[in-house]
Symmetry: C2
C-alpha cells in the first residue's frame, strides 16, 4: 500500500515504480482538488517524475502551484550518526 | 570540470559527489548574486541536496527564489526509443 498522510491528499514517494505513485495521485484527484506529493533523499527525482507524468499524460488541467524544498535530520542506519537529508513537497491543483 | 552554461551562473548537476557542486555554487556566488542549479533524471535529488547544503552550511543569507520542474524528451541509450525525463531548475539569490 502507498502511504498517505493524516491529511488524506498527501502522497509519499517511496521505493515502488513511478507508475504506482501516478495511480495514487490520480485516485487522490478524484476526491480532492489539491494533491501534495512528498519525498526525501533519492526519491525526490521520482517525485518530480511522478508529477510530470500526471501532468503530461493524464491530467493536463492540473498545475503545480508551489514547490518547497528543505532538510530533515535523521539517524543514518549504517553509521548511527545524525545526517541531513533533502526533502521536497510538490503542490498540485486542478482548480 | 563541472559544466556551466553560456550564461555563466548556471551549475549543471552530474555524476560527481554533491560537495563538488556545492563548491561550484559557492564559487559562482563570488561572481554573481544569482545562481541557477539545473538537473535531470536521477540527479534531481542531488540538485536539491546541493542547494540545501549551500543554504544550511555555507550561505544562510541565500534564498531559493523559484523552483521549476519540467520534462525533456531524449533518446534512451539502451532501447534507442524516445523517452521523457524529468528536469528541475532551482533559482538561488543572495540579494
Amino acid at each position: 500500500m502507498i502511504k498517505t498522510d493524516d491529511e488524506d491528499n498527501v502522497i509519499f514517494i517511496g521505493n515502488k515504480a513511478p507508475m504506482n505513485y501516478v495511480v495514487a495521485v490520480l485516485t487522490e484527484f478524484k476526491k480532492s482538488d489539491d494533491v501534495v506529493v512528498k519525498a526525501r533523499g533519492r526519491a525526490i527525482s521520482k517525485a518530480v517524475e511522478t508529477v510530470e507524468i500526471v501532468r503530461k499524460k493524464f491530467l493536463s488541467d492540473v498545475s503545480v502551484t508551489d514547490i518547497k524544498i528543505g532538510s530533515e535530520n535523521i539517524i543514518d542506519d549504517k553509521t548511527n550518526k545524525p545526517m541531513d537529508i533533502p526533502t521536497i513537497e510538490l503542490y498540485m491543483s486542478s482548480k
